[in-house]
Amino acid sequence: MTMKASTRQVAGIMVVDISGRITLGEGSTLLRDTVRDLVSKGHKQILLNLGDVTYIDSSGIGELVSAYTSVRNQGGELKLLNLTKKVHDLLQITKLYPVFDIKDDEAAAVKSFATAG
């Protein structure tokens, strides 16, 4: 299953619902383009909903890191929502879990952004 991404706005926060596989090629490119597009339009508070991500490889992990750093470098915030066990375990193994701000409740996640609401 290839990756799909759809974007919606909740209380000023851009929520990106991602499903499928984030792997080298189409998946990682789509994630990069989606985040880049949001930032270019001035949306710098981004919540990536990974609840329907079935698989992620090291390129996908790299793309999450890239999205996180690029948004942060633009003065924004990028958080992760609804990690599956596989993604959770991979972020733990790679010691990236403490790097990201990870949430499991969308409403609380949206409220947690600095200027939300």
Partner: protein, 150 residues
């Protein structure tokens, strides 16, 4: 694809489709060999990471260069060898992706993940190219008491 005894070998183009093919084959062969689900996921991911390295970093998508993926079941162990025809990888030059200075790098985690999910990982620079051998021992099988993934 060629088959000899318990050995299956694929010679594949240097494309992302080949990476998917190698991953699918790994998942199928590990399933047929009786490994537990968690071990199968780890084996499939490790083969994917090795195949990405072969196609992208080794062969650099060169249509003239091939990737060879070989699966061999020996005494219940699964031995997988991935070969490319690129410039060759020096294992000593692979940075530690867990080092604080490397944590936010966007690449460099593939071999670390292979070492996490497989019981043995051997990397050999060949002339030309790189040969990566991934071994999962029978302890990761669904019928066994011990889960092989670390």
């Amino acid at each position: 694809m060629s088959m000899t005894g318990n050995r299956v070998s694929y010679t594949l183009d240097s494309t992302l489709a080949s990476v998917d093919k190698a991953e699918e084959a790994a998942r199928q062969i590990a399933t047929e060999a009786g490994f537990a689900e968690e071990a199968i996921d780890g084996i499939a991911m490790s083969v994917r990471e090795a195949a990405v390295n072969a196609v992208l970093h080794g062969n650099a998508y060169d249509p003239a260069k091939k990737m060879q993926v070989e699966f061999d079941t020996r005494n219940g162990d699964l031995v997988i060898t991935i070969r490319d025809q690129g410039g060759g990888l020096e294992e000593s030059q692979i940075p530690d992706p867990l080092a604080p200075e490397n944590l936010l790098k966007t690449s460099g985690r593939g071999i670390f993940l292979m070492r996490t999910f497989m019981d043995e990982v051997r990397i050999r620079k060949t002339e030309p190219g790189t040969e990566v051998t991934l071994i999962k021992h029978a302890g990761g099988r669904s019928s066994g008491a011990k889960e092989g993934s670390k």
